[in-house]
Symmetry: C2
């Protein structure tokens, strides 16, 4: 309680001090997590903690949770020390929140604002993960870090079909908070914004629900808002070799501080729901290349049957259309390249102009190098995917996600600054 007796009002240093004081608690008691979506009555939800410290940041290869709160921040200062203080305070706060704790004592003196905003008291860890990244603009020289920008963090080129809204795109920093309770996820974004006040300002944010890919063999493939199982063939957490090949940055990087990290691409993909819902079932299945009900590829009988891209119908035409989504997204169409998808559905009310639903997919993908993974994959999809008639890419983001923190006192990008 002694921290709380200060009458000097809130300060950034105070957050850092309070939070670091017992950050070590986060590592203790971390046991594991269950499946991300309970589809059976009475099935357990993943309410336990996910370990915060480790080789990689959690929230990438850890099983996808049910809820997302994502935010991009711009830095409003050129004081590199202030930025480091925020990154350190964020790390300390994340270590506590992921353990299901408030970011500071919950009973402070009456003449001070509470350290924690309080709406997640009693809700437990709820499988929370917090993942932080740096956008290309972070390396524009304001903080003396122009030489630390990785080559793989090249600005995304213009891609076919882009209809991007700058107000929903990019940013100096990003925070991905995933949990099985939306209030727990939102709590992170709100407290990060609060901790960073005076140094960072929120540029855009996105809530998501109903993860759209399985990232673990134990997870069922969920459905996107088009009603299809998508991401069946996602890179899975259990396959360490695939993660090493496609997701984790290794020794070959030009920037050693990124070793063990990954590159995050976000795309806000609006679905033209009303048009889609008026489309014929057969056409919908042709577009995806899968059955809607079972999720089976059109060349198989059940969801995990092998996709036979060369199969032909009796008349000689391809069973899976030349421009079907499943074909164009397949690794074999991209020299074997794959990405780890971790997206969420979103619905943001109604478009005031049209009265139509503003809903779709907040696409999130992790990879070793977007230049040879996301960019060529999306270029081909943007040019040819049959799905393009029903979607629009309206937001974009690219972030370098540094490796995991190893112990209390570490902070995001420590090796970047030092």
């Amino acid at each position: 309680m002694t921290e709380g007796t200060s009458t000097s009002g809130p300060s950034r240093r105070r957050f850092l001090g309070v939070a670091l004081g017992s950050a070590g608690v986060a590592a203790a008691g971390s046991t594991g997590f269950g499946v991300a979506r309970a589809t059976e009555p009475g099935a357990p939800t993943a309410s336990g903690p996910v370990p915060f410290y480790g080789e990689h940041q959690a929230g990438i290869a850890t099983p996808a949770q049910d809820r997302l709160a994502f935010a991009a921040f711009d830095i409003t200062t050129t004081d590199a020390q202030a930025v480091q203080t925020v990154l350190g305070s964020w790390a300390a706060a994340a270590s506590r929140m992921t353990a299901g704790e408030a970011i500071g004592p919950t009973e402070t003196a009456p003449q001070a604002p509470p350290v924690d905003t309080g709406e997640a008291f009693d809700l437990g860890p709820a499988g929370l993960t917090v993942t932080v990244g740096f956008g290309p603009s972070f390396f524009d020289g304001r903080f003396g870090l122009a030489g630390k920008r990785p080559a793989a963090l090249a600005d995304l080129p213009a891609l076919p079909g882009d209809a991007l809204d700058p107000a929903r795109s990019n940013g100096d920093l990003c925070v991905q908070a995933c949990a099985n309770d939306p209030q727990v996820a939102f709590h992170v974004i709100r407290n990060f914004a609060r901790i960073g006040r005076g140094t960072v300002v929120m540029r855009w944010s996105q809530l998501g629900f109903g993860r759209t890919s399985a990232t673990s063999i134990a997870q069922q493939t969920p459905r996107n808002l088009m009603g299809f199982k998508d991401g069946t063939n996602n890179v899975k957490a259990e396959d360490a070799a695939e993660l090493d090949q496609f997701v984790w940055v290794a020794g070959e990087t030009d920037q050693p501080w990124m070793k063990g990290g990954s590159y995050l691409v976000t795309r806000r993909i609006r679905m033209l729901i009303e048009s889609w819902d008026a489309d014929y079932l057969g056409d919908q299945e042709t577009i995806f290349g899968r059955r809607k009900d079972s999720g089976a590829p059109l060349t198989g009988r059940s969801e995990f049957d092998l996709v036979d891209l060369s199969a032909k119908a009796p008349g000689g035409s391809l069973v899976i259309d030349a421009d079907a989504h499943i074909r164009l997204a397949a690794p074999s169409s991209h020299g074997g390249q794959r990405i780890l998808r971790r997206g969420y559905s979103y619905t943001d009310g109604t478009d005031p102009q049209t009265g139509q639903l503003d809903a779709g997919l907040f696409f999130i993908a992790f990879q070793k190098d977007p230049r040879v993974q996301f960019v060529p994959i999306q270029r081909m999809l943007g040019q040819r995917d049959l799905l393009n008639e029903y979607i629009k890419h309206v937001g974009t983001g690219l972030f370098a996600v540094p490796p995991g923190l190893r112990k209390a006192g570490d902070w995001y990008g420590k090796s970047l600054f030092t």
Copy 2:
């Protein structure tokens, strides 16, 4: 599968026919439901069905679920028959969705749009309830129903502190879908909009999460986004006498079609989160009249201790401030009147003008007569509540919620039209 062989494309009649065909299934297998929020690791979630047919519509006195999808619709036709067809199709669809079923066969002919949009396949009932109501404008004479408008459905007067946005207010019809899975709740709004196409258009919609009141003794009081337990003294589902006294319309109504129904008031209450988070703990507790951590009234030690509004501190001042939220919202401040609150937190991203969070409470209250319940309560709160410094009422809605449907073939407002 025979319905699916039609090649005439989608039609409203077809939805009705398909859905009514097996609407009776919904009533069978309805068993009950668990607590709404699982706070203990491994605690069961409420994934079973809530009975659809009954004396009252579900979603009022049934335990509050974790997620909300709410929509208001305007009617774009003067054809009363078309309106009845939509209301009948909605009822049939709701009876299926609340039983965890698609609204029609999931495998239709390839040359027809799927009857169900599909994103909730496999997710089960998830405790879904669907509650439909009629706004004052429904009785403006377009459908020959001006004489059926209940006196209690009087337009809400201007209230102190209102800052209402017409684009987020009112509507001819409303649909409240609550479930323990957001995709299941959203599925209702989307399919209702689709069923109603050509007859109704969505006016506004609202997603919510983390219910802010307990409506059952078995439910823990959750926290709002200010971090406080609010609604501790809500009317509870188990108290039939209170429900009869404060919630259900009885024989005294001037409109017999409303007997067994209730009146729904919605308010989108934006919280000025950043200001609130900078306020002192002591001040926050004075404003609510409760401790933040425990939820105990300032005159007690634990959440459910009696609120002693007359208690005085040694110096003679009131322990619970004269304008504390807990005092002004107390039944004793309103001649014993109470309401059934069933609100949800919302976060709708960032205010583009200020970069501040657009978040708060989507207030929902049910009552027997808003003229003597919500209106005087809110008038006093709007004038005096200490909380007013940190909130803004930006949206409003008032709806007459008819009684429950009794059997397959019934529909919303049937006795209103006949």
